[in-house]
Amino acid sequence: MELIVKKAGMLTSVQDLGRWGYQSSGVPVAGAMDLPALRLGNTMVGNPENAAALEVTLMGPEIEIKGGGAAVFAGAELGFSVNGKEVGSWNVVLLNDGDVITFKGPRGKGCRGNLCFAGGIDVVPVMGSRSTYTRAKIGGFEGRALKNGDVVKVGEPSPLWKRTGGFNIPEELRLTQDPEAPLALMTGLQEDAFTEEGKKLLFESEYTITAESDRMGCRLEGPKIGHTEKGADIVSDAIPLGAVQIPGHGMPIIMLADRQTTGGYTKIGVLSPLSIEALVQKMPGNKVRFRKAVVQEGADEQKRIKDAVRRVKELYASYVSRPEVKAAAAAAAPLSTHFRLTVEGKSYDITCEEIS
């Protein structure tokens, strides 16, 4: 299947779970902003969790389908539609040659999502990842966000993709976060570089997301957080995903997917994974609050995400093997699937047929 990009949308780029393993060469991780949604979306169309998808921002693209396949939009409700008919998020839809994907626009509940196709976006991996890091023009589609007229290839889908149409997952497995809830901040790193009053202010005040926010970091505006006599500068060290960095101006910057590998401003702590998911769905002008959290909370959330993905895998397996679809498939034609397996340079052709 190929995707003909009629209109690129506001910011549409190829992303997977990120480029890990090259931070010591200064290469940022990048990857999807909403990581849990990408893992769930990929699972819903039978992909490995790390398959590449199109990350859609606020105003989605218009895409004409060449060939056929299956897709799901995993993330905020941005009005995902096929041939003008709204499909919505978290519903798998089958696509036919000539179908046109459009987005009707945001519904005030989040601004990002991942358009996952069965088979994943097929671009050449760079340093082990298909993620786009636009600042250095690394990976993805020519190292940049998509433009009008681009033609993007989709990889070979799971053999059962035709049975995935109509699959959806219950609300609780989508891990959609309450936008009103305060963000869980696991304090640590240079927290002793801030005054007691500053820390109190951070947890008691409301901050506003500024227009300078992007995939690299979310800049906040609000009461100024003061530093102790140690100051706001440190000898540069590592910046984990979700690190809350506070430079000399006293305004927090939350480091996101395209963050630098290292930096020299004091960091008061790191946001929990689901709080990062809540944050990346917010827009400039939206408000955020913080609450103090311990590291165990972040670890528990990672387990919760993993469990949700596992549960979706089980639901997917039941959906594609439900009796009516199996019977219909058997009546139409025996399912036969061809694989080519390469082991140590030798190729084997394998045919699987369903016999019951």
């Binding site: 010591s24 590592a238 590998t261 670890a299």
Partner: protein, 245 residues
């Protein structure tokens, strides 16, 4: 500011990262300890690790918290035999980086001159008078962290970072000096710019400067800058790299 190689601090960095810190200042011994811990952590097979990121003075260890805990990582890291060596590192490879100082290329050179209480010409002289050691690559692709700059021109970062800085810009942040390899936001005091490409993703060796290099800044005129820039664009420029003993 201190060095605490014998008793490293283990810092909480969220649920998926632990930072082992050996100093809060730039110290060659601490940097050697970081490299030793990195070798140990990447070589051990007791617990799975996603990635180790060495910096001047600390090692960030990234892991999957659904598989191992932060406590496991600290327990294993404590087993690493750290034998700190003296600063007896021999001079190795030296690379020359042409820089056009001041003017539109280095809009903050006046800040640095004022902070040091010297002329802009003297800032250029002191910045290019001695070679700096590359401690690590980080912050962004191909960004070399250099130590050993003349401390008399040390200047704090800008309190309000710029949102866009041109690739090739040479800056000062505290006692550090460095070159922005690609266009990016940042808070360093910019004193000049090099026409060389620090990061070329499609090349077999994507970074121009590597950890361990000695880096020497060579002042050039705007005319020379433009000439080298054209040679770099044409692919005919060969950076001056010398092996020293």
């Amino acid at each position: 500011m201190s060095v605490y190689i014998e008793e490293p601090r283990y810092l909480t960095a969220g649920e998926s990262c632990v930072v082992a810190e050996f100093a809060d200042e730039i110290d060659r011994g601490a940097n050697d300890a970081v490299m030793e811990l990195k070798r140990y952590m990447t070589g051990q097979s007791e617990i799975p690790i996603i990635e180790c990121l060495p910096t001047y003075r600390s090692l960030a260890v990234y892991f999957d918290p659904t598989v191992v805990s932060a406590d496991d990582v600290v327990r294993v890291a404590r087993k690493a035999p750290i034998s700190v060596k003296s600063d007896a590192a021999a001079a190795m490879t030296e690379i020359s980086i042409p820089v056009c100082y001041g003017g539109e290329y280095g809009p903050d050179i006046a800040n640095v001159a004022e902070h040091a209480g010297i002329s802009e010409e003297e800032v250029i002289k002191r910045h290019s008078s001695r070679a700096c050691h590359c401690y690590m690559i980080g912050f962004m692709p191909g960004f070399a962290y250099l130590g050993g700059m003349d401390e008399s021109i040390a200047t704090p970062r800008l309190t309000n970072p710029r949102t866009v800085i041109k690739g090739g810009s040479v800056g000062i942040a505290g006692k550090q000096t460095g070159i922005y390899p690609i266009d990016s936001p940042g808070g360093w005091q910019l004193i000049g710019r090099t026409p060389l490409r620090l990061f070329t993703p499609e090349a077999s060796r994507p970074t121009l400067i590597e950890a361990g290099y000695e880096v020497r800044f060579v002042p050039v005129s705007e005319e020379e800058y433009k000439k080298i820039e054209a040679e770099v664009a044409a692919g005919t420029y060969k950076p001056l790299i010398t092996e020293a003993k």
